[in-house]
Symmetry: C6
């Protein structure tokens, strides 16, 4: 798996960190958009908690669309698919939340994700980042896979401080409180080489603004 995505030329692919019975693992969250009617498909044998993470990530992205320069009509006129290979491995838990959010932000903006970067952390509906478990095992797996930078909840800082120094050599850590902070680190300004072009229709009814 480690060599699956060696560059960051594909929008919507972000490296996460998982914890399993047999140690840490890296995983990839993939997102894809295609013309449609706003449907959401989630695949990769994900459990309930992980599916709910995806939904929270999507809701926060929609709420924050304007700030990210995302045309709101894309949510209605494109179908979104989120997948986490390998397809036969059951996965669950909230710790892929910020990875999913970053994947969504990348696919909707067509901006590159920083390479050799991984992340782990729960997302709340209002964009807070909560701490998660299995930090030591995840860090070791990240290092093994050639990751250089890692994004974590600031409440996981103490878990890092408990790891022996030599294991952390060559790794840079970013401690965040919000997913806005995650994007400052992980989402580059630059678009991918062949960015998708969104074809959007006018909405039928003229909106009026009120408050």
């Amino acid at each position: 798996d480690e060599e699956l995505y060696q560059d960051n030329e594909i929008a919507g692919v972000v490296t996460g960190l998982a914890w399993t019975q047999v140690g840490g693992e890296i995983l990839f969250v993939e997102s894809s958009l295609s013309k449609g009617k706003g449907s959401l498909t989630i695949s990769g044998q994900l459990g309930d908690v992980m599916k709910e993470s995806a939904m929270a990530a999507l809701s926060y992205l929609k709420f924050n669309a304007e700030a990210l320069g995302i045309d709101h009509r894309i949510f209605q006129q494109y179908d979104l698919h989120i997948h986490v290979p390998a397809g036969a491995v059951p996965k669950d838990g909230p710790s892929a939340g910020i990875t999913m959010f970053t994947s969504l932000a990348s696919i909707f903006t067509q901006r590159k994700v920083k390479s050799k970067l991984a992340m782990t952390g729960e997302i709340t509906l209002r964009g807070k980042v909560l701490p998660v478990g299995g930090i030591k095992e995840k860090i070791l797996a990240a290092k093994r896979s050639g990751i250089k930078e890692i994004v974590l909840s600031s409440k996981n800082r103490r878990d890092i401080e408990e790891i022996e120094k030599h294991y952390l050599k060559g790794l840079t850590f970013y401690y965040v409180d919000t997913v806005d902070d995650v994007l400052k680190v992980a989402l580059l300004k630059e678009k991918v080489k062949q960015p998708m072009t969104f074809s959007l229709t006018e909405s039928r009814l003229q909106p009026q603004y009120n408050n």
Copy 2:
């Protein structure tokens, strides 16, 4: 969790009180609105009873929309998401009913929720507030977390009176019979700093009023 929301600058976030096998806990109900078609998403590993509480809270809010100055078209033209972190912890029971209602009232009006305030109580479909259990444990958890004011059903008054005085020091209690009373205490007149602006389309058909 205690420091998750230290201010009240985000609309739709309200502190509730939960009771678990190992004592009381505070929890946060988060609500979010995004342009859509009136769908409702509920997440956070909530059980049937808690989901039904959310639906009762929403129905009462819709029934009461005019009194709160909420444009009814928002219910049809925005999608609502209610989430209760942490995402992996199963939660159930009716006692988050008034917390959910206050969260909805805040997100739909963009008004601030009073800070350092927590609440617990079941909501009925017609806006009554019913008493709930685990009061002592919940009060201790609230105090530990820096809560200063607590809203309860008036039928829980006797549960408070049975708690030793020194535990209650520094806490103010509001006993209520209806969720209208809850809002009088919990929902400030002031809007949040950057209130969401709702973009609404005319409904297509001219309404006629009759009775």
Copy 3:
């Protein structure tokens, strides 16, 4: 619970009688309408039989709408929610059928329900009232809660006659065969103080009457 609804100023709230392992209980059926598209939500941890009772009650109300002066467009242009607190207590069985029907009749007409009145009985799709069990326990619970009048199926008359007289003191019984008879007793002509005003759109296509 007994003091939850001390007056009858709220439309759509009707007192029913339930039978549990530990004796009789009163319960409240609450109904609520809000602008929508004709959806039906049922909550309160109701079992299959009780949900089907609600659906039979609604179908009979729709069939009988004209006789009750209900504008048929309300069924298409408003959402209906039926709830039976307390939200965490599982409830089942057919005996709340006529209570649900009366609740619906009240919310759709905005007419008051007679106060200090309770009822128990199964409803059929064509508006018949069938007898139910647990009559003695239900009567005792009603009396304890301050109920003065009780509506029952005429086929439950013999169950009342088997109860010792002194238990029945202060109670008036109405024996009915149809839910039309139930409404004659339970639904007052007078509307509630602040009746809801229904805002209805014309249906798009001009109806033509044929037979």
Copy 4:
């Protein structure tokens, strides 16, 4: 149950015969129509086989609508509800098929059903009537309940012939092969006293006939 429907003044109510562990029983199939969008609701704690019977009966009625003088737009512009009291008693099996079909034919035509008539038999999608079991017990229950005429599949004739004569006294039997034959016996030409008036809109697009 026996006295529930003593006359035949209500359209859509037909008497069927059921077989239970403790003997035969009569049951009533009730149908109701109300303005809507063509939805189908089935209630009365019916099992899968009995629900499928209802669907086969409805499909055959739609196929045969013209012959019965039913305006096809009713199927699209009215909601149909089929209920079998008592609501708490689980029921299953195919033998109510022709009873359901007769109930539907009556509610859609507003024609009276013959009184003191009961029936039992499976319906196929193309309107054949198949034999069913428990005939002796069903006949005894019918007689006990005051039924005078009974409709059966011609393939159940031998089951009747095996019953001792004196049990059959006062009963007339009709043996049928198709549900068209059932209606010839069971559905009167006369409409019920206050027949429902169907209010139908034009269909939007001009049909063109081809073959």
Copy 5:
């Protein structure tokens, strides 16, 4: 069952062969069309595999509609119901696939099905006919029921050759590789006596042909 359909005057009824624990059986697949919106109902207590057979048969028929002279708008403007009596007998397996396909071809074209003909074989999505099991028992059941001609996959030829000759007397076998071959044998050119007349609306948008 054997005498259920003695002639072939009803479109959409085809005789299949089933294999059960207690020997072979004939069964009838019935199809029915009524004005609607293109919905599909499958009944007769069919298992997953048999339901999927029906869906494969329908997809192949749609793909092949033009060759059979079927107006494609029927698929959108009529509802289809497939039923396999007896309604209470659970049925499963892929061997009714070609029977279902022939039933669909007959109901959509209103052409007669050859009488005293039965068939058994799995259908694939592209119209191939796969061999099935229980051939000997099925043949005996067919003969017992007065069937004269039988359609089978050519890969079941060897199963027939293993049956003792005298059992096959009076039976003609057709070995096929595709469902197109099935129709050549089973579907007569002649329409049923009173063919259904399809009433179709124009599709709203003018199609343009491209490739």
Copy 6:
């Protein structure tokens, strides 16, 4: 099964390799399109993982439609059915992913699939090809069935190298990293003999291009 599809004249049929308890097997993925509204049907007793593979394959095809010359309106105006015979055999796992993708590419372009070619490999949402298990058994089954060329993930190269040479005689292997590479090998430029003609309506609203 081996002789089911002896030529490649039918679009949408691709040979895959499966691994079962009793050894390797070839299987056929079949796809079919018919006029409709963009629905997806998956059949053949497929498990969750295999269904998710189909969905990932379809999403990647939609994303890549322009490059393959597929008119995007087909996805909205045609229904897609994917089936894997034999219908009664349960199948699961991710290894049919690239077979499904090739089947979809063929049916949507009406281009021929190379004959005597088989493939096995997981597809990710962004079109990567992941290695799968059971390679030796699958290769033996392919050879037994007359397959001459096989497409695999480049990460399965070492599994081939571990197989004794004489087993591989007469087989050519293609090692790929992406499904684009799969199509270069498997999908011929030439269309099938009687290619389907897609009849498409204009989309109602004039698109505007922005980014």
